[in-house]
Symmetry: C2
Subunit: 234 residues, 2 copies
Amino acid sequence: MKKGRIDSAWGGGTQCRDCGIRDLVLFADLQQNDFSLIHLPIEEIDIEAGKPLYSAGNEGDALFTVRAGLIKLVQYLPDGMQRTVRLLKHGATAGLEVTVGQPYEHTAIALQPTSACRIPRLVVERLSRETPRLHRQLMERWHQALHQADDWLTELSTGKASQRLARLLIHLVETDGTVTLFSREDLGAMLGITTEHASRTVAELKRRDALFELAGNRYRCDIDQLECIAAADC
Amino acid sequence: MKKGRIDSAWGGGTQCRDCGIRDLVLFADLQQNDFSLIHLPIEEIDIEAGKPLYSAGNEGDALFTVRAGLIKLVQYLPDGMQRTVRLLKHGATAGLEVTVGQPYEHTAIALQPTSACRIPRLVVERLSRETPRLHRQLMERWHQALHQADDWLTELSTGKASQRLARLLIHLVETDGTVTLFSREDLGAMLGITTEHASRTVAELKRRDALFELAGNRYRCDIDQLECIAAADC
DNA sequence: CGCATCTTTGACCCCTGTCAAGCAATGTGG
DNA sequence: CCACATTGCTTGACAGGGGTCAAAGATGCG
């Protein structure tokens, strides 16, 4: 799991200071000497697609920054149903709840090969005590998560299936106009519909030429068309 | 709007220190001398049912603690549809987003006659700078809100209408086994269904004897029955 | 009392869930 | 290399939930 540069973590968070995406992450605002407060190793871990990063209910002794890839946060209902409540892209923070002493509230599973930094809870607690610069970022992260949760509800849980799918796709398109889709089961769990209906809805968008299949689960998409469908204007 | 004790706010947050529900609120952990850092008035305001506490998009220069009553947080969709994303009861905090410099992200509307404390953003910022005791509570509040948002999605946006309504009712029952319901339009916006269907679903629960009408919009409810419906076991 | 608003109800049809079967892709073992 | 099991995706048929539109009660307020 551990990458080659892992040992340098011991040297006062050196690898964090030189992080390639530092301006995106929790430690964005830390200054030179703040890093010396990091007294526990911050590991860089790789998760293969389908594997969990952590599981709901477990005692959390670390939070995570997603460096690359994609993580889904899944919540299980009493009746065994499951629902995906959020997706985390690079720069996002997973497991914030451990900073308030809670066990993990979701199961975090990689949808793509993903790399993340594992930040021990004690590191955040110490930084939080000693430097005010982390506070702002922590609040910022909570805010991000909450905002995303609210959006998820209004955009991906409201309207008919084709609208929801179109909105999800709009969130997922890369700059080159393509998307990598997930299994139909995952799509269903995100949009609050059945696997079968997810399949049908994807087929419908293909038929409407809003989606064009490139390879297995890679699609080129017509964003104007998608936006039109998302708004139910057509 | 202002209550009689409002003037005492100037005296270093006296009325906050003596707050009747202080153990529930944002300032729960503050100590004796922290209150002297409150240099701006914290007003106690009353909102009548149906009136807004604040509106989405507005520059936020204060956040709020709900003292009594009930607030809905509403989000508007591009197409004019609206969706209620959360309910705030006594002790809850509204408008946390202003602490990270954002405008209000929802429109907050009273569902019942509500009283709240208006806490200027600057007060929170100063306390946040000077005393660490507020941090924990702020994080706690973010966490509460996020947790509620996730639950809202899985419980009130998943399954059939009767299940969702049953789950909502379970959240709303008072200790005496009664509920005060909202307009059918509000119910619809919370459960993600139409006004008409909300009406039908309430009628269905009455027919099933899970709900018994006491007065206009007050009901006695059979919790066992509701839990059974929520789980779709019957 | 009369107008406005909210709730309820009915009729009708579309959307989505359900159950089942067919297909494709992949992998396993003989 | 091929039969065969496995897994995930797709399709069809059908039923039921929920949306839509319209009209008829309630309820409340001026």
